[in-house]
């Protein structure tokens, strides 16, 4: 199919890509932008391993057409660490809490956690579980993941109120 120009902001930079209109956003991000944090897990929107933030909300990029990204603001895990590759607080928190084993689900979980840790609202552990309920992890049993998100959120709130 004839390729089509898609212009969108990816991790703060305005990007132009010629894509097949049949491509998914995960195809665009992995194959064209080489952002390898996006994992093709189930490819049907169930596992959350391909989660990215579009205009502030988490979406499964595997069931999001690349052409829908026109004019949108997209964030992936690569946006979090700095240029030298130093981990952000939420990534470090996942390491510290043992919220990672195989690591395949981790980028997706962290993207789903962003709306929580970047919010000023209070969240109970149950709220956090609900916000993360679109992501599957087959290693950790979830508890450490919830703790990692909870601690980062509390830490950020404490810093803001200083």
């Amino acid at each position: 199919m004839k390729k089509q120009l898609i212009t969108c902001t990816i991790n703060g930079k305005l990007r132009e890509n010629y894509i097949d209109p049949r491509a998914s956003l995960s195809d665009l991000l992995r194959e064209e932008e080489h952002l390898q944090s996006i994992k093709h897990g189930c490819d049907v929107g169930e596992c959350g391993a391909c989660t990215v933030i579009v205009n502030g909300e988490p979406f499964n990029s595997c069931i999001y057409m690349a052409l829908w990204a026109e004019g949108k603001d997209i964030r992936t895990l690569e946006d979090l660490s700095d240029e030298k590759g130093n981990l952000s607080d939420i990534q470090q928190s996942f390491v510290d809490e043992g919220a990672i084993q195989c690591g395949f689900c981790t980028p997706g979980f962290i993207m789903s956690a962003l709306p929580i840790i970047e919010s000023d609202e209070d969240f109970t552990r149950e709220d956090i579980r609900k916000k993360l309920s679109g992501n599957f992890c087959r290693c950790t049993g979830y508890d450490t993941i919830v703790t990692a998100v909870e601690k980062t959120h509390n830490k950020r709130k404490a810093e803001k109120s200083k």
Binding site: R22, G45, T51, P58, Y64, M65, L67, K131, G134
Partner: protein
């Protein structure tokens, strides 16, 4: 990569309708959380689609002059849940669509897609039935208005005729005013699952809060399409609120439902669920309305 034959990309609703007329077999692609998956499975592979995802004129919720709530069909579930108008006037709908899938699915999935799919488990369908939603359906020839009650024709089939598209969902003031409701979705998992059974119910009590002025009950997965328990509603109208009411309601609704055996649950279990969810939704709705048992 999705195996579509052609993807049409209209810029306006008008253009979308013209494309639908020119390509009657093309599917409208809304949030895609069903179509894209069925394309992957192969069921819809090779089809033509008309992508309406970026038609922002089809998104949003507003209150019209006479108090009617207008929901545009491409409004995502999460936007419905968080919308102040929905939270204030039909909180049951805000809650019901918050039970769908997970956060990512609720961000992409649309209420219009939910009801146009015509599946019996659709979480928004039962509440829209109990609030007598009215649909605005457009084609190049104009707009027709139809009640949602007669929209479902069978499993996966809805009353959208050639060249037509759903462009609005309305709930009249008379329908939601002074009502208190509740939706319960029974499913095997608390997220990322479809309903084994869903029950949405709302009541309006008499002024002295001793009698039921009006009750509306709807079920998902209690038949091939989401259905209203109209016979039970008629017998419960004017009923006194007392200890026997819940049991009476649970028995009466049996005249309206037609659940079946499936791999998800047996018919007997579904009947048990219909009775129990009726008791629970009725109890909590009456109590919210200020009634006492």
């Amino acid at each position: 990569m999705y195996d579509f034959n052609n993807i049409y990309q209209p810029k306006t609703v008008r253009e979308a309708l013209e494309m639908k007329k020119a390509h009657p077999d093309a599917l409208f692609l809304a949030g895609g959380s069903d179509i894209l998956i069925q394309c992957r499975e192969g069921k819809l592979a090779g089809r033509d689609v008309i992508s309406i995802f970026n038609l922002d004129e089809l998104r949003g919720v507003c209150l019209e002059e006479d108090g009617t709530i207008l929901i545009r069909p491409m409004t995502s579930f999460s936007h419905i849940t968080n919308h102040p108008i929905i939270q204030k006037y039909i909180p049951t709908l805000a809650y019901a669509v918050d039970q769908i899938g997970g956060p990512q699915i609720r961000n992409v999935g649309t209420i219009g897609g939910n009801i146009c799919n015509g599946v019996t488990s659709a979480d928004s369908a039962t509440t829209l039935k109990t609030y007598d939603a009215i649909l605005e359906i457009a084609s190049v020839d104009g707009i027709r208005v139809a009640p949602y009650s007669t929209f479902s024709l069978g499993a996966g089939r809805v009353d959208l005729r050639e060249g037509e598209m759903l462009t609005g969902i309305r709930v009249k003031k008379d329908s939601y005013e002074n009502t208190f409701g509740n939706y319960i979705k029974y499913s095997m998992r608390r997220a990322m699952d479809i309903a084994t059974l869903g029950c949405s119910l709302n009541v309006r009590l008499s002024d002295d809060k001793k009698k039921i002025d009006r009750v509306r009950i709807s079920y998902g997965v209690a038949g091939p399409v989401p259905l209203r328990a109209t016979k039970a509603e008629a017998t419960l109208q004017g009923a006194e609120i007392n200890s026997e009411l819940l049991e009476k309601a649970a028995l009466e609704v049996m005249n309206d439902v037609n659940p079946r055996n499936s791999w998800r649950a047996s018919k007997d279990f579904r009947i048990q669920l219909i009775k129990e969810l009726t008791r629970r939704t009725l109890k909590s709705s009456v109590e919210q309305a200020g009634g006492k048992f």
